[in-house]
Each structure stands twice: as structure tokens, then as C-alpha cells.
Symmetry: C2
Subunit: 304 residues, 2 copies
């Protein structure tokens, strides 16, 4: 079974790791959100791509889920001493990724090629693709006006109330080389448990059409997110945050939906939206949980 | 006594530190070579300015004389793992200087202003000025053709035989704000024990005229340099490397020359070039040696 998985940051990276453990490398393509990318300190930073790659390579910080394990902070500490912008905490190991990516981009290489080169250096065998090589930028419309995504997410710590989202540059952004080909070759598409508004929607806005069976995993469990502002965003947009709300968000394109045992009482309501459901453990604290969820999903998708 | 000191890297930084210890901050200006500056990994790197500032701030690595004390190397190690250029060993603390300088340069600030801001952040009270805010680049003409300075110095480890030097961009480069003013205000100019060919000559090529008494310290002791390729350069240019060769190099502009006890037998020959001499200890391994040499020089200059 060939699979393409759409992923944002930490939650997406965890399921991607689980899938990579049980699916043959040539049968798995991870398409990653780049709407959160930004330039900072002269560096081109791709938070979701890096989280996915670090996780797949076994380099990720197991405490935070993002950044590198065994990280040090000597550069950013000294940037701060010089009075420079230090609100985005770049670790010393992580810095190498941004420096070297920025250097290769300036040489004219597309992001997808650089990502491929990095994956080889890190020993990642599955295909990881940015959703696009073009600069698409998620802009958060908030009660304090429009904010660049990282300004909202990291600098302002998601405090402004959201009113909507815009993916700047999406009209002229083609999917990265390999994305369309992968979507044509696969048997199913998985939406990882990533933020629907700012992780999966940007990918969908670039890909535009998905003609394969789509299976989504709810990033919301018991009305809350494991990490990130998805639940807060639903609330601020006037929608009660829940697995149902996520299923409803994707209602036009789903074939199947995966929700946590904790939300089992919503299963019928979600089925009434018109698609199959799987109730299982979707919390992925440990590596074994990730593999288990990936395995459950494979069985679920094969059964349909 | 107001002093301007021209300095390159390690040797210059040591004497600058000695002078800073005994001269009032408002009476000392260090003018630093920027001919070695280069762009690497997208960063604007000023090796001599950084060595001088780190030394003055007490942040320098006491083993190497350049770079930061207590340095870590996590970024460059990871750049190397990604297959990026790692021949220029940038430490993690040091990286902050280059990142933040590059960011401010891109904002349109001149190098001299950024240097001033960094000095304040590092608690440096004397004035440190780049020789110019314009991009002047030392080019080494060698038996392998023309090489950018850091390519020759670090990447090729001074192995190509030199045939001459060129300071690219010097025709249109004005001295940085404050340099001309300092040279007008001072009682004497000190050439630190830096490389005459590639540290002091670039400064002179920008400053063009020095109308104050000039005192130089030989960077060559017993025919050798403490650090760097000055002696090798003299040999390859067909000149026997010696304190005399350095004195002769500067013969048109010197008032006094400082040489080491080890070269005392050359004193007469150097005096015959037409200037006063001081024979003293010019090796500056310890902080106390730096202060002692600075003190000896002050007495020498005052006596003339």
C-alpha cells in the first residue's frame, strides 16, 4: 500500500515516524507544510520540515518534540547579549540546518532538492517533500491585525485571538516536484494529527485536488490539542473544539476518520458526516505508540 | 598622550589590550584591518576586528589567541555532516557575532557603527574602528594564481608561495568615520606587531597619509613570526625575514622602531635607516607581558 501523508510539525512528525517504521521507504511520501517558514536573522527557517526530518532521523528532542536532542544554545545566548532578536530560540546544532539551507537556496537550489540532500545526509529513507518550493506564508488575521505566523505562534505565543487565515503567495505556488506524482501513485492519503487550519489547509491550498481516499487523524482529543493552538483557534472562530469539529472541517474530502478512545461517544455523529471511523489510541508519547497508530491506520485503510 | 594603534589579528590584539590597560579610554583608538573580511555561509566575517574585540573584552580563547574562550562547535560540526563548507571553523559563541553583524549590515548600518554597538555590549571602553566601512579585500597573488585572503590563509593554510598582494576596492574606500579624526587628534601612531604585508599595509592603503610620529613593533623575532605567515611571505618575496626587514618595510614613515632582545644585534643597522630604536621584550604570551610592552612603548614615545 503506497501512502502520502500530509504533515505539520510535532504531531505530524510522530505519525510520519510510525508510518516510516512499517511502510517500505519507496511506498511512503511525507508532504510537509511550509506555510510556517520564515526568514529570521538572515536564515531561511522551515520549522515543520525540520521537525519532521529530525524526528524521522532520530535527532529530535524527545522532551519538546521539536528541535534537536542534546542541543546547546551558545549562539542565541550571545545574539541576545549583543542586543539582537532572540525570541526564536535557535539551538546550535539546529543552526547548521538553517545556515546550510540558506546557503544552498542562495546558490539557486530549490527547497525540495535541499530537503532531499539533507534527508540523505541524515539517513532518512522515506521521501520528504515540502508542499511547494515557492514562498507560501501563513498569515494570521487576529484581533490585533494581521500577523506573520511565527510572530503569532512563537513571539506572541498564540495570545492574539484569531479571526481567520490567509496563505500568502498560494495563487502562484505550484506543488514541489514529486508531490503531484506521489499523489497520483499512492493508494491513500493520510492527514496526520496536525493543525487543520495552519498545517493541513496550507498543503491543501497548494495541492488543490486530492483524488485518492483521504484518512484524517484528529489532532484534538477530549476537546484539547496535545500541542499547539488548534483547539484555541476553533474556539476563537466560534466552533467548539472537538474531534467532530475536525472531521467536519474535512468533510468534503474524507473517506475515513480516526479519533481517540476518549472521544468514542462522538463516533456516530462523525459517521453521520458520511465517512468510516476508527476509534483507537491516538496519543503518541512513545515510539511504540506511533508505530501502533500507524499500524491501526494501515489496517483501517486496507479494510475500506 | 593620545594614541592610535593600527592592528591586525592576534599580535595586534595583544598590544591593543596592553595599551588599553594603561591609556585612558578616550585617549586610545584601535584602527583594525578589514582586508581579511569575507563572506562565508552567508555571514559577514571580520576576523581581525573580532580578535581585537574579543581580546579587549576578555572573551578571547587564551590558547589560540583568536576565537572565543570556552567555545563549542556544534553548528559547524553539523554543517559538515550536511556536506556544507566547514573549513572555516566557526564556533557557536563566535557565530552570534557574525549572524548579528550580518543582520545589522543588511539593515543598512555601517560596519563602524555595528562595531561600536558590539563594543558597548561587550564592555569595551576604548574606541575600536574598522579601517573602512567599504569592502576592501586583500587578494594574495601566488604561484597558484590570485587567492582571496581567507582562501589562502585558512583553507590553503598559507601553502601557496606568495608573489604579491592587492587590496581590492581600496581606490574607492574612505577611512571609516572617526579614523581621520583620531589620526588628527593623536600624539603618536603605533603599528602593532601585525603582519606588515596583509595587516598594516591594507590600513595604510586606506588611510593614505599619516602625519603623526609612527612607532612600529616588529612582528618578527629571530627571523620568525610568533603566529602567521609574515616571515614566510618575506622569504617568498626574496627578502630575508627579520626585524630589520620590517623596519625597512616601513622606512618612509617611521619615527621609532621596537625590536626584541633576541634581535639586539640588528639595532645599529635599523638605526641607520634613520629612526630611533627600543630593544625590549616583545613576546606577549601573558597579560603582564602585554602591559609591560605597552608601558615600554609609552616611555619610548614620550622620550622622543
Amino acid at each position: 500500500m503506497k501512502i502520502a501523508a500530509f504533515a505539520g510539525g510535532v504531531g505530524g512528525a510522530k505519525l510520519a515516524q510510525g508510518l516510516a517504521h512499517i511502510v517500505a521507504p519507496q511506498d511512503l511520501t511525507i508532504v510537509v507544510n511550509t506555510g510556517d517558514d520564515f526568514e529570521h536573522l538572515g536564515l531561511y527557517i522551515c520549522p515543520d520540515l525540520d521537525t519532521v526530518c529530525y524526528t524521522l532521523a532520530g535527532l529530535a528532542n524527545p522532551e519538546t518534540g521539536w528541535g534537536r536532542a542534546g542541543e546547546t544554545w551558545n549562539t542565541i545566548t550571545n545574539v541576545e547579549k549583543l542586543g539582537g532578536p532572540a525570541w526564536f530560540r535557535l539551538g546550535d546544532q539546529d543552526m547548521a540546518t538553517h545556515l546550510e539551507r540558506t546557503r544552498r537556496l542562495k546558490e539557486g537550489k530549490p527547497l525540495s532538492q535541499i530537503t532531499n540532500e539533507f534527508c540523505k545526509a541524515w539517513g532518512i529513507e522515506v521521501t520528504v517533500l515540502p508542499m511547494t518550493d515557492a514562498p507560501v506564508r501563513t498569515v494570521v488575521n487576529s484581533d490585533e491585525g494581521e500577523l506573520a505566523f511565527q510572530e503569532y505562534f512563537v513571539h506572541r505565543q498564540c495570545q492574539p485571538r484569531v479571526k481567520g487565515f490567509r496563505f500568502d503567495g498560494v495563487e502562484s505556488a505550484a506543488p514541489a516536484p514529486g508531490v503531484q506524482e506521489a499523489l497520483e501513485a499512492v493508494d491513500a492519503v493520510v492527514f496526520c494529527p496536525s493543525n487543520p487550519w495552519v498545517s493541513i489547509d496550507p498543503i491543501l491550498s497548494v495541492v488543490k485536488e486530492v483524488n485518492k481516499p483521504v484518512f484524517a487523524v484528529s489532532p484534538i482529543i477530549s476537546g484539547k490539542t496535545v500541542k499547539g493552538p488548534a483547539a484555541k483557534m476553533y474556539s476563537e472562530l466560534g466552533i467548539e473544539p472537538s474531534a467532530y469539529a475536525v472531521a467536519n472541517h474535512y468533510r468534503t474530502i474524507l473517506k475515513g476518520f480516526v479519533l481517540d478512545h476518549a472521544d468514542a461517544e462522538m463516533e456516530k455523529e462523525i459517521q453521520d458526516l458520511g465517512f468510516a471511523t476508527l476509534v483507537t489510541n491516538t496519543l503518541m508519547n512513545q515510539f511504540i505508540d506511533r508505530v501502533q497508530l500507524a499500524n491501526d491506520m494501515l489496517h483501517f485503510m486496507r479494510s475500506l
